[in-house]
């Protein structure tokens, strides 16, 4: 046990001291922070210009539609319509009026002009020309104002009061979907899916990253020939165990730092952005029960152990990085296959595929946390998955130990599949 701890401590301390660890630990949160802060900032940059209302409205409808649009553009009846100039134009003189407005726009006296005519009243089209015509946000504001007023006018024509019609026309329906779990109403469905996908991807990336770190560690010990000195003091199986534990502890450290910084960033996001005058809705951080958290950690630990043992087995059968690249493909494919199943399983978490992939040991560490996050699973489902995974881990670690013990001191050539099977069969 003492020797296992010595090996684990070496693996852990040597890895957290590396530049790679520090860079990855710092850059993970930086990238996450960019994802949290840059999109709202970009969105704020592309918001409608504050002077979108500084335009000329050429009203050829013979109604007060132009004026109403001007009011709507300036924030309603309480707004200041001085910035928007409405010109009543006879349809026959519209071309002349447009020429004048074009010259004014070029001279920067106005941002542009809006032409409302009979086709606008019919709800078909409205024309705008101006130096901000390429701004989708500005165009959306103008289009919404025109649409609101056209609808309101037509409702009024149909007999509704102006108050009723404008409240109907301005009605904005927002769908706020909410997920209901056993514990009651919780996160919104979208947040829940985002969270589930995030957890599954985090597990996928960490298992792949740290599993490969074990592979590289094994190859390093073979290449530098340090393995023989070490196994003369500690059994190969303990060396393997210490390596898997040490690298796993590095992984947990890094992932926990990422999660801690990530959650903190999500919590302070609204305040920080608000400080810069950017308004956002607070992010919902899904609450996880202690039981779920334990299960998530358990799936990570078991999944990592399963794959780390497979990667160590690959490392013991090869002697250089090039061979390792090829030899690890079957193991990586198992992981990638599981990642490909994420979307179909998310679409139907309780479907046959979800059950099957949730029980298969190579995919369950990624698929089960995903399913658990979006639906409430039966305890039987979770327990079966865990039991299969634990038994598989035991078998894989046992076989990896045998392959490792023989392969660690084999130099020169890559072992064939038949040789590896023979190593698995024999004890010594």
């Amino acid at each position: 046990m003492r020797k296992l701890l010595v090996v684990t401590a070496r693996e852990y301390l040597e890895r957290v001291r590396t530049r790679w660890f520090i860079v990855a630990t710092v850059f993970g949160p930086i990238i996450f922070g960019l994802l949290l802060f840059v999109p709202p900032w970009m969105a704020s940059r592309s918001k409608a210009s504050t002077n979108v209302a500084r335009i000329i409205i050429l009203d050829g409808t013979g109604t007060d539609l132009g004026k109403r649009i001007a009011v709507e553009l300036n924030g309603g009846i309480m707004g200041d319509t001085a910035r928007t100039e409405v010109r009543q134009v006879a349809p026959a003189r519209m071309a002349e009026a447009e020429s004048l407005a074009t010259r004014q726009t070029i001279a920067k006296e106005t941002r542009g002009y809006l032409v409302v005519d009979s086709s606008t009243m019919a709800g078909e089209s409205v024309r705008y020309a101006g130096n901000n015509a390429t701004s989708t946000a500005d165009m959306r504001v103008i289009r919404d104002a025109v649409r609101t007023e056209v609808v309101a006018m037509r409702l009024e024509e149909a007999g509704l009061s102006s108050f009723q019609s404008s409240s109907l026309a301005g009605m904005k329906l927002q769908l706020n979907a909410e997920r209901i779990t056993d514990r009651g109403r919780g996160a919104s469905a979208q947040v829940s899916i985002f969270f589930a996908f995030g957890v599954a991807m985090l597990l996928y990336v960490s298992i792949l990253m740290y599993g490969q770190a074990v592979l590289r560690g094994v190859i390093e010990e073979k290449q530098t020939r340090v393995a023989e000195v070490v196994v003369a003091s500690v059994s190969a199986v303990k060396l393997l165990g210490g390596k898997v534990l040490g690298v796993g502890a590095v992984g947990l450290t890094q992932v926990l730092i990422w999660i801690a910084v990530g959650v903190t960033l999500m919590k302070v996001r609204t305040q920080v952005l608000g400080h810069f005058g950017i308004e956002t809705t607070p992010m919902f951080i899904p609450g996880i029960s202690a039981g779920s958290a334990v299960l998530l950690v358990l799936f990570f630990v078991l999944g990592y152990t399963f794959y780390a043992a497979l990667f160590a087995m690959v490392g013991a059968t090869v002697t250089n990085d090039q061979d390792a690249q090829q030899a690890q493909i079957p193991v990586v494919m198992l992981l990638v296959f599981s990642a490909f199943a994420l979307a179909p399983v998310l679409a139907s978490p309780e479907g046959k595929l979800g059950y099957a992939m949730g029980w298969l040991p190579f995919s369950s560490p990624i698929i089960m946390p995903l399913r658990m996050s979006v639906v409430s699973l039966e305890p039987f489902d979770i327990i079966t998955s865990l039991v299969i995974l634990v038994v598989s881990c035991y078998v894989v670690v046992f076989l990896a130990g045998r392959v490792y013990r023989t392969g660690l001191l084999m130099y020169g050539k890559r072992a064939t599949f038949r040789e590896v099977v023979r190593w698995m069969r024999r004890a010594g």
Partner: protein, 321 residues
């Protein structure tokens, strides 16, 4: 303290398609320098790895310092310098050594104290520079070899196992290792080493075991091996001619079993019961100018070549048949 340092009994190790070690038994006395000698592929490294419990024998048993080698703590009393040497390249020297010491059960503070002592002794820690703070990668090959020795000796083992210790060493490090081996022997430690370099074995070993194709060919104290297996030898050096007469004399099988000649220097193995004085008399009578006629024992090298060579040629004849 009377148990032998190593007791190997009827050990067999089979690999796919061949047997690396067949029924090997040997006893390494405490406090001795013991050499396992054999050609490449004889099973030396496999034997050593079994002694250190790196691999399990298929049959037989091994004891180290009176306890089964699989017993907890048994191999912690052994220091090992393998033929295939290496260190963690990106690790700091001091941390590598501390790791190796901790694996042998030495506490951190004690390990640091010992590391400083050894680094100073081998010139890796001076008032100008402490190489213990450097990364292994920054050390020259010779310095890395020194760090390897320190790693094997740091826990003050009762027994040191060296596999081809002089291969790849520069002469200065080879001499340094030899001095350390002799010093350890004087302090009562047991040293077991494998080699196919007979001159170093002859210089250092009290006892040897020659193995070939996984089997023991002979073993015992070096002096007995030379007396029993080398036959009586004569070193003859001629000052001048009469080569034909001398050649005819040496062809007499009642006097001589085998002769090797190079530059008028003859290495002669006397026939059993042959009288060396009679050979000398006949040489004088033949008129040959003798500048040296010396009675002695065969070198380990000669015994090794003859015994292992004979086995190989017998094997060749078997496979031809």
């Amino acid at each position: 303290m009377t148990e032998p340092a190593v007791q190997i009994r009827n050990v067999v190790k089979r690999y796919d398609g061949h047997t690396a070690v067949r029924g090997l038994s040997l006893t390494v006395p405490r406090g001795a320098v013991y050499g396992i000698l054999g050609p490449n592929g004889a099973g030396k490294t496999t034997t050593i790895r079994m002694v250190l419990d790196i691999i399990e024998p298929d049959e037989g048993s091994i004891e180290i310092l009176g306890a089964p080698n699989t017993a907890p703590g048994a191999i912690d009393r052994v220091g090992y310098l393998p033929e295939e040497r290496g260190l963690y390249r990106r690790m700091q020297v001091r941390r590598v050594l501390r790791f190796l010491a901790e694996l042998k059960g030495i506490g951190r503070r004690d390990a640091d104290h010992r590391i400083d002592g050894w680094l100073e002794r081998l010139g890796l820690r001076t008032s100008d520079r402490d190489w213990g703070e450097a990364k292994v990668d920054d050390l020259s090959r010779g310095m890395q070899q020194k760090v390897q020795f320190i790693g094997a000796l740091l826990h003050d083992p009762d027994m040191l196992i060296l596999d081809e210790p002089f291969s790849g060493l520069d002469p200065i490090n080879a001499q340094m290792l030899q001095d350390i081996v002799m010093e350890l022997r004087r302090s009562g430690k047991t040293i077991l080493f494998c080699t196919h370099m007979m001159d170093s074995a002859e210089r250092l070993c009290d006892s040897v075991c020659i193995i070939a194709r996984g089997e023991k060919v002979l073993d015992g104290p070096v002096s007995s091996v030379r007396a029993e297996h080398g036959g009586r030898r004569v070193a003859l050096e001629l000052a001048d001619g009469r080569a034909n007469e001398v050649a005819a004399l040496l062809a007499d099988s009642s006097l001589v079993t085998r002769v090797n000649e190079a530059n008028r220097v003859f290495d002669i193995e006397l026939a059993p019961d042959a009288d060396a004085q009679l050979l000398l008399r006949r040489l004088v009578e033949s008129g040959a100018g003798i500048s040296r006629f010396e009675l002695g024992q065969a070198s380990l090298h000669r015994i090794f070549v003859e015994r292992v060579g004979a086995l190989n040629s017998a094997e060749g004849r078997e496979s031809d048949a």
